[in-house]
Structures are given as structure tokens and as C-alpha cells.
Amino acid sequence: MMEEFFLRALIAGIGVAAVAAPLGCFVVWRRMAYFGATLAHGALLGVALGLLLGIDPVFGIAASSIVIALIVTGLQRQRALGGDTLLGILAHAGLALGLVALAFLPSVRFDLMATLFGDVLAVTWSDIFWIYLGGSAVLAVLALIWNALLAVTLNEDLARAEGVPAAPVQFAFMLILAVVIAIAMKVVGVLLIVSLLIIPAAAARPYARTPERMAILAAAAGALAVIGGLFASLQWDTPAGPSIVAAATAIFAVSFTLGTLGKRIS
């Protein structure tokens, strides 16, 4: 008989993976992996802000993500620094400032390791409720903007000339990305969130002929990684979040190898 905490972890993890993977497809298509990492690292600052202001960390994370997204968008036009340098500065500044801010809160009981690497075995039914509520909202928005976002991803000029409201669509995407980071933090932590976004998407690519199929396959790969990682963690007593990411990487390695070999043969 499965322990209840383990069942909760499975339900929470699968929910997060199923939402993160389709979004991760766009992260991969739009070459935004480092942007995702920057949002995730900055989320630690959001957690600290949430604790300082006495509000739910989820709202702190949403706020920090929106600020980072606005800074990145605003600084994209400058030419003095490359985009990767800028994202690197923001990511690590967010992480460092978050850690510094937490040091000012000695009275607050706070599990830093859980924030950095997740603590999926400790999720409550209330956490699960929020994961599924937030996740449904994210998927609903994604379905709504899917075609427009795809058009903008292919070519922004062409999409705009065809009447797609590119800026609002891109902003909506950044918002739902922030929500996914907020709900995924509990499962894999801020340092590993991006892996749940991009690894399942990358694993799905060789077997997908349409964008939609890639999103569905990625969600399946993500859910499989959660199941595999959690059982492995139970079996060998390894940390749950990193085990999920390790399982995702194994799935990717198999998929990539078979996919490349398959292409060479056919």
C-alpha cells in the first residue's frame, strides 16, 4: 500500500510536469531557456519578499518574475551587453539578493534547501489544490494564445503584419511562465525548475511532427520523469527533486539516441 505522502507527491509532481512541459516547448522553440532560468533564480528573491511582507510566497514570486520580465524586455534594445550576459546578471543577482534578504529574517522558520531543490514529499492537499488550479489556468491561457504565440515564435514581423497582437501575447506567455515557476518550486525547487520545462520538450522533439504533438509528448515525458524519479527516490533514498530531473535526463538521453539513430537508418 502506497503511503499517502508519496501519493500526494505523485499527484503534485505529475500535475506540475504536465503543465510545465507544453510551456517548455515554447521556451525551447523561442530559445528562452536562459530567460526561464533567470525567472526561476529571481524567484528566490520573490520568496524572500513574500516572507518580508508577510504574503504568500507565490505572490512574491509572481511579482519578482513580472519585474524581471519587464527589465529583460526593456533592456533588450540596448546593444552594450549581450542578452546572455544580461540574463546571467539578473539570474544571479536575483539569487544572491534573495539569499541576502533571507538573512535579514532570522525569526522566520525557512527551509532554504526546500526552496532551492524542492520538497515534493512534503506537499499538502492544499498545495495540490493550488497546483491544479494554477495549472488549469495556465493551460487555459496557453490554449487561448497558442496559435498567436506560435505565429509570433516563427516570425514576429510576419505575425504582426497579419494582425497578431504580438506584445500582449508575449507578455501573457511570460505571465503564465511565472505562474508555472511559482507552482513548480515546491516540486523541484528554483534551481531545477528549468529542467522540467526544457528536458521533456527536448525529449519529445524526435517523435513529433506537429507542435501540438510535441507538447502532448512532452507532458507525457514529464509525467513519466516524475513517476520514475519519485520511485527511484523511494527505492534508493535519494532527494526527490533531483531524482525527478535525473529521470527526465535519462528519458531524454534514450529519446535522443533512438531518435538520432532512427533518422540515420530511415
Partner: protein
């Protein structure tokens, strides 16, 4: 009536009936850099205008202004009310990580039905490509698919930014022929950026030579004797303005094989 910069003005009475777009005294600045100044351009239905000019001359900027993608810093842009645009941007590269068939790519153009997509692909003589992956197309096939997507908008005006890039020489000729036929069949206006300084399509009604301002414009044969054209590109270039006045006895299909010529009007 003074027009607000960048806003299409709604006073068609004074304009020629077939006029699609009119740009007057246009300037575009990016920060302190002036991309375009004092540029004027008129284009009517059924007319093909080729833009030539050196790299960085502002050709793409002018097309993007016409497409409504950048607002002019000064000057006016008038578009016929209800004007429908078909746009083919420059250097569209689709990352292989995004799986996409031609059908799905065309479906992104808007609310086009399956049948409309098939008609559009047939019009650019690429009907067989519908289920192909967009990544496996040749340069010429890809530009035809881009044209099909533009045609799906049922355009009055085609804005083509270097539609021949990545297309081999034989394919270039047939692509120019195709653009000419689309113009004839639908009475389209075409504004086309030429990828080559010296070659414009034979069916061009007017060549506009751009170098931040309009250096000169005129019929393809007239322009190569224009002193400003000669000054800009040198007498050697003036001799090399080879107009595509080809008169070949065969065409090429998409695979490059010779085929009998299509009857031309």
C-alpha cells in the same frame, strides 16, 4: 488636410482610383541614426515596383513602414482604406526544434480553410508540398510557401522583402515569373526588394533606387543611365543592370528538371 505622421489618412478623393499606397516625405530614425529621409513612393494595383540599393540603404525599413510594422518619424503613409497586405519578410529561418508541416504553417496565416490553403499552394505551383516538413524544403520551395501564405490573406498589395534569397538561379527566374503571373491574375500591386543591385525582374514597372533617400526611380531601362545610379554604383554597375528579359525555351520544375514553357499572355 495635414496628416498625422504615421497615421493612414482617409481622404481618397484627391488620389488616383487605383492607388494602393502613398508615402510622402517619409523619415525614419532609429535613435540618432537616420534610416530614411524624404522618401516618397506611390504604388497602384497591377504595378510592380522593385527596390534596389546598397546594404543598409533602408529598403527593409521602407517595406516595414509600408507593412505598418514601424511608425514613421515624420511624413505620411496613406493606405487605401481596407487595403489587404500580403507580406513576406526577409530571412525567415525556422528552427528545426519546432516541428512544422507546410499545412500547419499555412494555417497560421489566419482563418483560412483547408481548401483555401490548397488553392493558395496550387497558385504558387507547389501543391505537392502540403504535407512536407517545412524544414525539408529547398530555398525555392520555401519562398513559394511564403508566397502562398501571403496570398492566403487575399492581398491587394504584396510586400516582398528579398523573395529570391536562398533560391538558385534557375529557381529565381521561375519565381519572378510566378510573381508576375500572380500580379496579372489578381491585379495585385507588388513592392519587391531586390536581393541584387543589378538585377530586377523584367516585369518591373518601376525601379526605385534607395540609399536612405530615393536616389532615382524610373523604368528599368531608364534607370541605369541615371547619373545618381551611376554615381552610387559606378559605371560598371550601370552596365550590369541586367534586366530579366530572358526568353528561354523551357522552364524548370521545383526539382530543377527542364519542362516545356508555360504559355504566356
Amino acid at each position: 488636410m495635414p496628416a498625422v505622421p504615421g497615421t493612414p489618412v482617409m481622404s481618397p478623393e484627391a488620389r488616383a482610383p487605383g492607388l494602393l499606397i502613398e508615402i510622402e516625405d517619409l523619415a525614419v530614425k532609429f535613435g540618432t541614426a537616420t534610416a530614411l529621409s524624404h522618401v516618397g513612393l506611390k504604388l497602384s494595383g497591377g504595378e510592380i515596383v522593385s527596390l534596389i540599393g546598397p546594404n543598409g540603404a533602408g529598403k527593409t525599413t521602407l517595406v516595414r513602414v509600408a507593412a505598418g510594422l514601424i511608425a514613421p518619424t515624420a511624413g505620411t503613409l496613406w493606405r487605401r482604406p481596407g487595403l489587404r497586405l500580403g507580406y513576406v519578410p526577409q530571412r525567415l529561418k525556422i528552427d528545426r526544434v519546432l516541428p512544422l508541416s507546410v499545412r500547419r504553417f499555412l494555417a497560421l496565416a489566419g482563418k483560412a480553410s483547408r481548401a483555401e490553403a490548397e488553392t493558395a499552394l496550387g497558385e504558387v505551383e507547389a501543391a505537392g508540398l502540403m504535407e512536407h516538413s517545412i524544414h525539408d524544403l529547398s530555398g525555392g520551395e520555401f519562398q513559394r510557401v511564403m508566397l502562398a501564405r501571403a496570398m492566403l490573406r487575399k492581398p491587394d498589395l504584396l510586400l516582398l522583402d528579398e523573395p529570391l534569397q536562398g533560391v538558385d538561379l534557375g529557381g529565381q527566374v521561375s519565381l519572378y515569373d510566378l510573381i508576375g503571373r500572380l500580379r496579372d491574375r489578381h491585379g495585385l500591386g507588388v513592392l519587391l526588394v531586390s536581393h541584387d543591385l543589378h538585377i530586377v525582374m523584367a516585369a518591373t514597372d518601376r525601379v526605385v533606387c534607395l540609399n536612405h533617400h530615393v536616389c532615382c526611380s524610373g523604368a528599368p531601362e531608364a534607370i541605369r543611365h541615371h547619373p545618381e545610379y551611376v554615381a552610387l554604383f559606378g559605371p560598371e554597375a550601370a552596365r550590369r543592370l541586367a534586366v530579366y528579359a530572358h526568353d528561354h525555351d523551357h522552364d524548370h520544375d521545383l526539382a530543377g528538371n527542364p519542362v516545356p514553357p508555360e504559355p504566356r499572355p
